[in-house]
């Protein structure tokens, strides 16, 4: 294993985040605060409690997941798309690194950034609402699993994309709607019957539900199903990445 290469790529990716500290850290803190002002205070004051949890606290896991998903995808997709776009990918492809090492380094970097971001949002949220985390181990587990899975997904998009427009397409048209409709701001029990069933086809529901359970011990769907769905999605992404590397798809052709 070329650990030096993994470390070199990882460090380069992390350096990129710290170079753009305003965008990486300050911007999520501001947007989280805005969500709390709008949803927590303005709207939340009219919704007292969901499942015995104050609305302000209820939306925290959803908000973290919202950022975790979108940031994991955009970090990883940009990290691999940008060298493709400017042409500097030649160096990566000509280096004595295995595909596995490339994935570990890029996905590791993207996931680390979004986990840090999730923790920053959690810290910001705790300034607005009192929070208790009932299952901290599982909270971290869901955080890491989701960050890794969606960073892998972003990596796939970054390799697939041939233009900046395509790079934005999937996050904008699929991920953002799924996240907003995945129960970030409400319990799916609040939906009418038919929509409740439709919602169950949305994979993001399982992520948010499981993550919320780790905070409050309450969830829309069972934790086992949440965990299972997340792992299934992770395996699908791993299978696609393996196929990309076996065929050299959009990299070595």
């Amino acid at each position: 294993m070329n650990l030096r290469a993994v470390w070199a790529i990882y460090r380069m990716e992390m350096a990129r985040a710290f170079r753009t500290v305003l965008q990486s850290i300050v911007s999520p803190v501001i947007s989280t605060s805005l969500y709390f002002v709008v949803f927590g205070s303005a709207i939340g004051s009219r919704i007292t409690e969901i499942d015995g949890i104050s609305y302000g606290a209820f939306i925290v896991p959803g908000l973290i997941m919202l950022s975790l998903l979108t940031q994991s995808i955009s970090n990883a997709s940009f990290a691999i798309y940008f060298p493709k776009f400017v042409g500097s990918i030649y160096e990566l492809l000509s280096a004595p690194v295995s595909y596995l090492e490339i994935v570990i380094a890029y996905v590791g970097g993207a996931a680390t950034k979004s986990i840090l971001l999730g923790l920053i949002i959690l810290a910001t949220a705790s300034l607005f609402v009192p929070l208790t985390i009932q299952h901290p181990f599982w909270m971290v587990g869901f955080l890491v699993l989701t960050a890794v899975t969606f960073s892998l997904f972003g990596f796939i998009i970054g390799i697939w994309a041939k233009s900046f427009e395509q790079l934005q397409l999937v996050p904008l048209l699929i991920i953002t709607p799924l996240t907003f409709l995945g129960g970030s701001f409400y319990s799916i029990d609040m939906l009418p019957g038919i929509w409740r069933t439709v919602t169950l086809f949305n994979p993001v529901v399982y992520l948010i539900s499981g993550f919320r359970w780790s905070f409050f011990g309450k969830s829309d769907v069972s934790v086992g199903v949440s965990l299972g769905m997340t792992i299934v999605f992770l395996l699908v992404c791993i299978a696609i990445v393996a196929w990309i590397f076996r065929t050299g798809y959009r990299l070595r052709n």
Binding site: W7, A15, F82, P83, V86, G87, Y90, L92, L93, R252
Partner: protein, 308 residues
């Protein structure tokens, strides 16, 4: 000693159906400077990209110092440094960070003293903290070379290294290439500038339409394929070449003061002696005479043109 790079039966057909390389066979000797010449789109960059692992080949085998580039890709690639044609650098990284990154990527332990030497050799040390985006074109080219040299390669590919660089940098690069060769590094360069190959290469390969059409020792090539010119300064200008000289390939300068005879120096009877005799007999006198070898460029153009 076995060759350091062995390319055997390598073909490449892109997904679009375009065949960039057809059954290419090429062996590069250890420690030589090999110039690969060819017109645009001949397949030079594709060939280099295959050896370096950037593009998958359709068929054939490639070994670097005995290591197969697929089965033993780590050993093969760690021996190779590549300076691509395009200036493709992460624009926002500093010179120091990006060169150290390259070294790490190739699995080498950090060695600030060595990286400093590479940067000093390429006159980049003063710019070590500058971001790549702020460098001039020539500096960027030096940076690309520094990245390729950062991991101490034994085989260096220079794809059009001096395209668009000024004379001074070109001279610097030639000097650097010679230094590397003295250290035992094998250098393969592609170029449009024939004088570059002429000045530096030990051997020359010509590629055209995806096929290697010639590989030859440079001196032998110039000798074998070279045409010579005999230039005569006439005492009194001529208005036209007399009919009696029609069997010689003669050209008259526009002012009529210079007569040029082009001949094949490999021919059994180049015709120089008989021409001079005939000129004397015809009363055409010259005050000076000079012979010129044709340049590699002319040889190259002739070769490529000859292809159907």
């Amino acid at each position: 000693m076995p060759s350091i790079l062995s390319i055997s039966g390598v073909s490449k057909t892109y997904a679009t159906g375009f065949t960039a390389l057809k059954e290419v066979n090429l062996d590069i000797e250890r420690g030589e400077i090999f110039a690969l010449l060819g017109p645009n789109g001949a397949g030079k960059t594709t060939l280099i990209s295959i050896v370096c692992g950037i593009v998958n080949r359709s068929s054939g085998t490639v070994t670097v110092d005995g290591h197969d580039i697929n089965r033993d890709y780590r050993a093969a690639r760690s021996l190779i440094g590549l300076v691509p044609q395009e200036l493709t650098i992460d624009a926002f990284e500093s010179v120091w960070a990006t060169v150290n990154y390259s070294r790490g990527l190739f699995g080498k332990p950090a060695n600030p003293a060595f990286v400093e030497k590479v940067l000093r050799d390429l006159s980049l040390w003063e710019k070590r903290d500058a971001k790549a985006i702020t460098l001039s074109g020539g500096m960027k080219r030096r940076l690309m070379i520094a990245k390729a040299l950062s991991h101490e390669p034994r085989v260096l590919f220079l794809d059009e290294p001096t395209a668009g660089v000024d004379v001074e940098l070109r001279q610097d690069m030639w000097a650097m290439v010679r230094r590397l060769r003295e250290d035992g590094v094998t250098i393969i360069l592609t170029t449009h500038y024939i004088e570059e190959a002429e000045a530096m290469a030990d051997r020359v390969g010509v590629i055209n339409r995806g096929e290697i059409i010639l590989v030859e020792n440079k001196a032998e090539l110039m000798h074998k394929l070279g045409r010579k010119r005999l230039v005569m300064e006439l005492r009194s200008p001529l208005t036209a070449i007399p009919e009696t000289f029609s069997r010689y390939a003669l050209e008259l300068s526009p002012d009529g003061g210079q007569l040029t005879y082009t001949y094949d120096n490999q021919a059994e009877r180049p015709g120089v002696a008989s021409l001079i005799r005939d000129l004397e007999a015809g009363g055409i006198q010259f005050r000076d005479i000079d012979t010129q070898n044709s340049s590699l460029e002319e040889i190259f153009v002739n070769l490529v043109r000859r292809e159907p």
